[in-house]
């Protein structure tokens, strides 16, 4: 009886090892996604990393129920978003947000252009912050890793039509604000 129990335990622990390997794969796939989602709320790299780390720790605890790829990504995005909003509310560190880094733009630009682009990016973030949460999440997810409507719908667990209309509305409002 004892040997039998030992064998079952070993088999189950080996299943746990499989789970760990799968989690490693998911982590490699989605670490940047989770970070960017958190960054879109906090706009502070270190805080965003902390939040993403926390989201991954939660995901690891529940990974047995989140083995499916799409399910894991959706759960991670939602958790990172909520955790980041909670962190923002508790810390109130809006003033300490990092200035937006336009590395890709500023490589060959003159200092004057860089200042203008920086100002433009600040305006954009202010406009995004002024959107309702539903619209903000959709426009941010669509902007991360060039997600299309289907991918955003899967991530949020919403019908594609809903995502499409929210995306349209969000763009309209952003254009109104930025013009």
């Amino acid at each position: 009886m004892y040997e039998y129990t030992e064998r079952i335990t070993e088999a189950l622990l080996s299943m746990n090892q499989d789970l760990k390997r799968e989690f490693e794969t998911r982590l490699a796939e989605t670490s940047t996604l989770a970070f960017r989602v958190a960054y879109s709320v906090l706009r502070h790299s270190e805080n965003a990393e902390d939040v993403a780390q926390e989201a991954f720790a939660k995901a690891y605890a529940k990974f047995r129920h989140l083995r499916e790829r799409d399910r894991f990504r959706a759960w991670l995005v939602r958790t990172a978003w909520r955790t980041a909003i909670d962190r923002l509310r508790s810390d109130r560190r809006r003033t300490s947000r990092e200035s937006f880094q336009m590395d890709s733009i500023a490589t060959q630009a003159t200092p004057a252009d860089t200042v203008l682009e920086h100002e433009r990016a600040t305006q954009l973030w202010r406009a995004i912050d002024s959107l309702p949460e539903k619209l903000r999440l959709v426009i941010v997810l669509a902007g991360i890793e060039e997600h299309d409507i289907h991918e955003v719908a899967v991530l949020l667990g919403l019908p594609e039509g809903t995502v499409k209309s929210r995306l349209f509305l969000a763009r309209q409002r952003l254009k109104e604000i930025l013009q």
């Binding site: 622990l13 954009l124 902007g143 763009r171 254009k175």
Partner: protein, 196 residues
Amino acid sequence: MKPGPLSRPVKDSALDREIEAALAVNPSPEFVSRIRSRIAKEPEPSAWTVMWNHSRTVQWVLFATVVIGVSLLGIAFPRLRQVTPLETVPSPQVSAMLPSVAEAELPTNIHTLPSRTPQIRMSSRTNMNEPEVLISAGETNAIRRLLNAPPIQWVELQTFSIEPKTLLETPVMSIPESEEFRSQPNMPATSKGDNQ
């Protein structure tokens, strides 16, 4: 929000590009390794926890065992199974009579007020689990006659007095002599002599 000094017409594609550029921020190179070390610090589940988490089959087997055990208890102790809730078995006679009672016309002079609680009335009508009231055939006929009867007309009765009557004399009854009493040795021949 006030438009800034850098305001300019925005196209969808330009807006998307701007948002993508704004979100094109990468985490530090140590980010993933920090997550790994954080997860490594998480407490490892014990073997029993792992077993319990993975053993949906074991849980189902336990559940099935309990269910089978309870049903076997019922077989082993048939009296337990006989304990059933009270059921009303509708009598065929009553069932046959009930429609005729229901169809009976109510007297026209009965005025019923509209119920203020229709839900309660509906529920009482639809509650089929109430036990049936068994009424004999005679009572059913009597109720039917009462329902079909014309409205009651009150009659004023005249008062009258009853005169007291004289009491009659109580008749004296004589007990006849019996042959059996005579035949017994200890008994006197006649009861008349004793009384005198």
